[in-house]
Amino acid sequence: MRLTVFQRMGRGLLERRWITGVLALLLLTSSLVLGWQRERAAIGEEARGAGSQAELLAGSLAGALAFDDLVTTREQLDALKLDPDIQAAGVYGADGTFVAGFAKRGDPLPRTVQPHEPEIVGRQLSVVVPVREGNLMLGSIYLRTSIEPFAERLSRYLAIGVVILMAALLIAILGASNAASAAANRRLQSEIVAREQAETALRHSQKMEALGQLTGGVAHDFNNLLMAASSGLELMGRAKTDERREQLTAGVRDALDRGARLTEQLLAFSRRSPVHSRPIAVAAHIDKLVDLLDHALGETVSVRFDIPADLWPVEVDVSQFDVAILNIAVNARDAMPRGGQICITARNRADALDGEDAVEIAIQDEGLGMAREAVERAFEPFFTTKDVGRGTGLGLSQVYGFARSAGGTVAIASEPGAGTTVTLLLPRGPAVASERADAGGASAVARDFGGLRILLVEDDPDLNELVGQMLEELGADVLRAKSADEGGRLLEGATVDAVVSDMVMPGEMDGLDLARRLRERREELPIVLMTGYSEAAGSAAKEGFPVLRKPFTLDALVGVLGTAVAGGRG
C-alpha cells in the first residue's frame, strides 16, 4: 500500500519537467559544495601535517639547540631534505638568529622568524613553531612545504566531476522524455474514452435511424392490417354462409400473423444490446425481412431474391444483420429516385475469407452509382451524398461495423450511371438450432392430448388463462402455476405427462432453470418453453428444449407440444 503511494508520488514527480531539472541542478550544486568542503578539509589536513612535522623537529632539536650541537642539528635537517614536499626548513636561536637550515627552491629562508600558525602564501604553506624545554625558550623552527597546485587538485576531481555532470544531464533528459510520454499517454487515454463514448453513441444513433426508416412503413402497415382485421370482423357479422365466414376468419388471421411478424422485427430493433451473435440460416431470415423491406422501400422499388436453399448458415447478431441489410437496401432505393429493382443474391464461397469458408451476400441496384471518391469514403461515419435532412451518413458505416464485428468484410463496387453493388462476405457459422418445430403436422406428432396431465407455468394471468384454455380444448388436464418456483413445488406432489412453461418470469428460478431441473429428474419428460424474446429462445434452443415463439397459434402449440410428447413417448 505504502509502496504504491510512493510509486504514485514518484511518477507524479517525474512527470513534471521542472522537477527533474531541479533534481539535476541539486545534484550538481551538492557535488560542488561537497567538493569545496573536501578541498578545505584537504588543505586543513596539509596545514596540520606541516605543523606537527615542525613540532616533531622542534622536539628532537631541543637538546642540540640548547647545547649548540650544530652537527646533530644538521643531521636532523638533512633527514628532512629527503622529503620532497618540504621546500625549506630553518632552525633559529632563542634570540631569533639563524642557526642552520636549507631552502631547496623558491624564496630563501627568512633572516628572523616569529612563531605563527600555518599560513598559505601562493602554493606554499609556512609555519614557525617555538622550541622549548620546560620553561626554557630555546629557539624556533621554520618549515615551508609545497601544496599541490589547484589545477592539479582539480584534475583529480575531473573524472568524478564528468560522471556527476553526465548523471545530471541524464536525469534531466529522462525526466523531460518521461514527462512528454506521460502527457502523451494521458491524452491518448482521454481520447480512447472519448472515442468509446462516441462509438456507443454512434451505434445507438444508427439503430435510431434504421428505426426511423422503419417507423413510417410499419405504422402504415399496421394501420392496414388493423383495417383488414376490423373490417373482416365487421363483415363476419353480416356473413350469410359458413363458407364466407371461414373466408373472412382466414383473412383476419392472416392480418394478425403479419402484425405478429412485424412486432417481432421491431422488438429485435429496439433491443439495445451490443453484439449477440447466433447462427442463422440466411434464406429463412431474409424471408422474414421481405415484408419489412417492401414497406420500407416504397412502391416504386421491387426486390428480387436469389438465395440458394443449400446456403451455409452464418453467425451474426441478428438485429445488426437486419439493420445492415435494411441500410443497404434504403441506400439502393435512394439511388433510384425513379424506381427500379434491387437484387439480393447470396452464394457459398469456399475459402474466400482468409482461407475460411464464407457466405457472400450481394445487394445490387440499378441506380445512379457513385464516383470513385465517394466509394472510397462511403464507409466513413457521417459521410453522405444525400441532401441535408435526408440522410445522416451513418448507414454504411453501420454496415461496415457490423461486417467487422461478425469477422467478415464489406466492399462496394460502383461506377457513375452503372449502379452499385454492396457485397458482404460473412464467415460460415455453425449449424442452426431448430427454433421452431414444423407446425405442418409431420408423422410423429401427437394431436390428441386426451387424458394427458400438463403443467402450465405462466406468470401473465391473461396468457395463463388463454393457453390453459387452449390445452383444455385439446383434451388435456391442466395444472396451473404462476411462477417457476410454484411449478417446481406443484411437481413435488403430483405427476404430470408434460410441461409447458414461460421462460422469463419473476422468482428465484426462471423457465429455463425449471426445465433444466426437471430434465435432471425425469429425462423423458416432454418440456416446451414459450417466449417472445429471441435471445431467450436462442439459449433454450441451444440446450435442446423445443421453443414456442410468442405469439403463437393453436396449430403451432399442437405442432410443438405434439412433437415433444410423441418424442417423449417414443
Binding site: 628532537s60 640548547a66 647545547f67 649548540d68 650541537d69 626554557l136
Partner: protein, 181 residues
C-alpha cells in the same frame, strides 16, 4: 658520508686562526668565552633533568665551587631565571662547609684538588646533579664538560645520576659526546 666535513673544516679553520693568534685554543674557541658558555649550560641543564619531588623546596640552588668567573656570570643571570616555577639562587661553595653541598640541586666543581673531592663526597647520595670540568681536572660528575674541536661539549655518567635519583632527558643524552652506562 659527506655530512660532517663542513663543520669539521670550519672548526679546523677556527683552531688554525687561534693558533696563529697565539691564544690557548680550548679557552678561546667560542666567541662568548668558555666560562660564560658553561654558565649558560648550567642553567639550561636544569630543563633536561628531573629531580625527586621533595628536593630543594621553593628555591632552586646552583652551587659553584672553584670558578669565580662562572659564579659571577651566573650571579648576573639567575635573577631572571625560573626552573619549574622556582626562584634560582646562586651559592658559592668553599671548602669550609662541605655538608652545604647536599642542599644544592646543581653542584659545579670548577677546579680540582681536595676541596672539590670533599664536596663531592659530602653530597654523595643526595639528589644533586654534579657537574665536573674535565679540562680543569675535576672528574666523576654526572655531567662532565670537555672541550672538543674548540667547543664546549659534555659526557654523561648515567649511574652517577641514577644513584642520586635523577632522571636525565633523552634529548640530553642525544647531544652528549659519550654516555657511560
Amino acid at each position: 658520508m659527506s655530512r660532517r666535513p663542513a663543520p669539521r673544516l670550519r672548526a679546523a679553520f677556527a683552531v688554525a686562526v687561534l693558533l696563529l693568534a697565539g691564544v690557548h685554543p680550548p679557552l678561546a674557541a667560542q666567541s662568548a668565552g668558555e666560562g660564560s658558555i658553561k654558565a649558560a649550560y648550567l642553567i639550561k641543564l636544569a630543563s633536561f633533568v628531573r629531580w625527586p619531588a621533595d628536593a630543594g623546596g621553593d628555591t632552586f640552588r646552583i652551587c659553584v665551587s672553584g670558578r669565580a668567573d662562572i659564579a659571577r656570570v651566573l650571579g648576573r643571570a639567575v635573577g631572571e631565571q625560573r626552573v619549574e616555577g622556582r626562584r634560582v639562587a646562586l651559592v658559592q661553595l668553599g671548602a669550609g662547609n662541605p655538608q652545604q653541598a647536599r642542599t644544592c640541586q646543581i653542584l659545579f666543581l670548577g677546579s680540582g684538588g681536595e676541596p672539590a673531592r670533599s664536596l663531592l663526597d659530602a653530597s654523595r647520595g643526595a639528589p644533586v646533579l654534579t657537574v665536573t670540568d674535565g679540562d680543569n681536572g675535576t672528574r666523576g660528575g654526572a655531567v662532565e664538560f670537555v672541550i672538543r674541536d674548540g667547543r664546549v661539549r659534555f659526557t654523561i655518567d648515567r649511574s652517577e645520576a641514577e644513584s642520586r635519583q635523577l632522571e636525565l632527558s633523552s634529548k640530553l643524552l642525544d647531544v652528549a659526546l659519550a654516555v657511560e652506562p
